[in-house]
Symmetry: C2
Subunit: 147 residues, 2 copies
């Protein structure tokens, strides 16, 4: 069998974790994107809507669909940003805060479980490799590797 | 600063690689999903359309949108499957084969670059950890970790 490429491991592992998150979110009639958005919004200070896209790595159109859906479900409220006339701040409702705790619980449960199962030294190496790969893309060094 | 969770590394690294793949595909007016589909179709034997979703980890609706788009661009052709009256086989056109080579080139270039930059021992550990995480989700052991 041919050796699998690194991107296969990255993609397949993230897809497996997404599957877990999607199924857990489904138990509360929620979605993974909603869970990430809830976690990205400070429960007390709220968040400028423009900060969420970059934080979550979502495109503007998908994000605005997710936020619309969250508003309809009563998880968030939009209020004008006093510091920016055209800006919008997003706040969690009490139900939003409750669901944020649920989402954080799922993420932490996953993290704890992985830490129980995998030796600390291996996880350190894993994070170091992940950081190096992110650096290759962010520094654009990979783009110049084709000569 | 709080320690980042493992899911953060998985998600952020895969997102960084997707960004690279999306930008490279964009140079040929293509997309990452098209590239993965091209790679998943055997250039000689074609592929049953039903085999692609599970292989690529895509939902049926996104996949059928991608395939429609690929057909419109002249990358693939659909033919009835002689072995299955209701089934459809997907074949690459000559242009599809050419673009498949391009896509494979991008994936291999990424892989080679990572292998040049990161010690082999670390990559082995990385793959082992990735496999363990996939196993946790596939074996459903993670689902039962909440007691």
């Amino acid at each position: 069998m041919k050796e699998k490429t690194i991107d296969y491991f990255l993609r397949a592992t993230w897809m497996a974790v997404s599957k877990f998150y999607t199924e857990e979110a489904g138990k509360k009639e929620s979605t993974m994107a909603t869970g990430f958005a809830l976690i990205s919004i400070d429960p007390e200070e709220g968040a400028p809507s423009t900060s969420l896209g970059p934080k979550m790595g979502m495109e503007a159109t998908s994000l605005s669909r997710t936020l619309k859906n969250m508003e309809d479900k009563g998880l968030i409220e939009r209020r004008p940003n006093p510091a920016d006339g055209r800006g919008v701040l997003i706040y969690l409702t009490p139900f939003g805060k409750e669901m944020r705790e649920f989402s954080k619980g799922v993420v932490l449960r996953f993290d704890e479980y992985v830490k129980q199962q995998i030796p600390e030294e291996d996880l350190k190496t894993f994070k170091r490799v992940a950081n190096s790969i992110m650096d290759m893309v962010q520094s654009k060094s990979i783009y110049n590797s084709d000569k």
